[in-house]
């Protein structure tokens, strides 16, 4: 032991893998969605677990994108759209009168099919959400922007060029930028609507890797028409057809021994 003053080095706590619980983040109960007379979603009941990836698969027009949009109330934007049933996030009904839609959209972020970088610099893109929330302090913005770009596995590629226009990035980079932008405001849930459908296989693989990393911090719901992708990244999978939830369960079970014959015929490609 040294004499005199003892300098104690406080070690950072060893990194433990976050305990996976089976907590439910979102409860959907008997959800129906109409626009005009058309019933796009019919009685969907589902539990979405915290910090897991839930995939939604189904043929075109089955309502999976519509369903996704309900979670951040982007479904409100459809003229004549009406929601029946309940969607509870952290126990609170999101269609309640008291719900602040802006706060909901901060908490539930979204990444779209085609990457949608704003016509601004890379920095301004990521900082946009924060600025909307009123964050003006440059050093805070810089910190958050760097953290999010790192999280989105984009930092190394753009760190020297943050003031470059976001429109000049490649498709895969733009999509990762959109992911960084979405996580900048600190959401709990990230919705992804076919995020890789416009990307080449390498870019797709990177985004899938990213999803697997992100799930340690965020609850992710991904809509995909690519079944292998759903099988690769998700923990639980839901199969939708004509607005109804046909089957929902652990991905491993759905893809090795699904209960419903319709599910089986869809995933084996024999859906006629």
């Amino acid at each position: 032991m040294s004499n005199g003053s003892v300098r104690v080095r406080i070690e950072a706590a060893p990194k433990e893998a976050p305990a996976k619980t089976d907590d439910v983040k979102i409860q959907v109960r008997d959800l129906c969605y109409f626009y005009g007379k058309h019933r796009a979603l019919d009685g969907i009941t589902m539990d979405i677990k915290t910090k897991r990836v839930t995939a939604l698969i189904g043929p075109s027009g089955c309502g999976k994108s519509t369903y996704l949009k309900v979670f951040n109330r982007m479904s409100d934007l459809v003229p004549g759209g009406r929601v029946d049933g309940k969607v509870l996030i952290d126990g609170r009904d999101i269609h309640d009168r008291e719900t602040d839609v802006v706060e909901l959209r901060r908490k539930v972020g979204m990444v779209f099919q085609r990457s949608t970088p704003f016509p601004k610099s890379i920095f301004d893109n990521v900082a946009y959400g924060l600025r909307i929330l009123g964050v003006r302090d440059m050093s805070t913005l810089k910190q958050v922007v760097e953290k999010c770009l790192r999280r989105a596995a984009l930092w190394d590629e753009v760190k020297d060029n943050l003031s470059k226009s976001a429109l000049q990035l490649s498709g895969g980079q733009q999509q990762r930028l959109c992911i960084a932008r979405a996580i900048a405001v600190g959401p709990d849930v990230i919705l992804m609507d076919e995020p890789c459908s416009a990307l080449d296989p390498t870019a797709t693989a990177r985004i899938e890797e990213l999803i697997l990393e992100l799930k340690s911090e965020y609850t992710i719901i991904i809509v995909t028409h690519n079944m292998q992708q759903a099988a690769r990244v998700s923990d639980e999978t839901g199969f939708l057809f004509m607005g109804k939830l046909i089957e929902f369960g652990p991905t491993e079970k759905i893809f090795t021994a699904p209960n419903n014959p319709m599910t089986e015929s869809y995933i084996t490609g024999r859906f006629g």
């Binding site: 292998q228 099988a231 090795t256 021994a257 089986e264 084996t268 490609g269 859906f271």
Partner: protein
Amino acid sequence: MIELHFDEELLGLRRRLIEMGTRAEESVRLAMMTLTARRESLGQEVFKMEHKINNDEIEIEAEALRLIAQHQPVAKDLRFLTSTIKIINELERIGDLSVNIVEVAIDLMKQPLLKPLIDLPRMANIASQMVKDSLDAFVSNDSKKAKAVCERDDEVDNLNDQLFRELITYMIEDPGNIKRAVDLILVARHLERIADHSTNISENVFYIVEGKTIKHHHFAHEV
């Protein structure tokens, strides 16, 4: 449901597996006949068949792997292809065991019978039937039949124990009996193994059809 080109290929693989299974079944039957009828020519048939069975295993496995790589199958297709690979393993072992029986039989032919063969043919019948039934279960996707095969395994095991105890007494009686007794014990052992492999095949068939596994379970507490 739409028909895929893949379905044709799966059907082709199925047919080949059934062919291989039929050869295995036949080789067990012939092996027992070699023993009971004491005809070496039958034994030669078994050797020839075993070559074919080994070939089958190699070709079917390659085809199954190709289909897995090219089609990324899921659900039942996946279960079918992975189980096929396991089943052909079992069938190949059955073929080997038949050859082992023939080798012992040929040896035994050089000496007179130690005792009238009663239990061994009985075991062989059951084992043969188990091989046949497990293949039938595969052909008709019959999970009940498959389970029934698994349940018969105990019968064969019991017969094996019985025969063992009987042959021990022969050996104690007269050391000159030892060689023949041991040979018979070996044959019984081979038959018992054939029954085990049939059980394994049936478990795989059950998995293909039901998506649940009944392996390594005592049937009192099955899934």
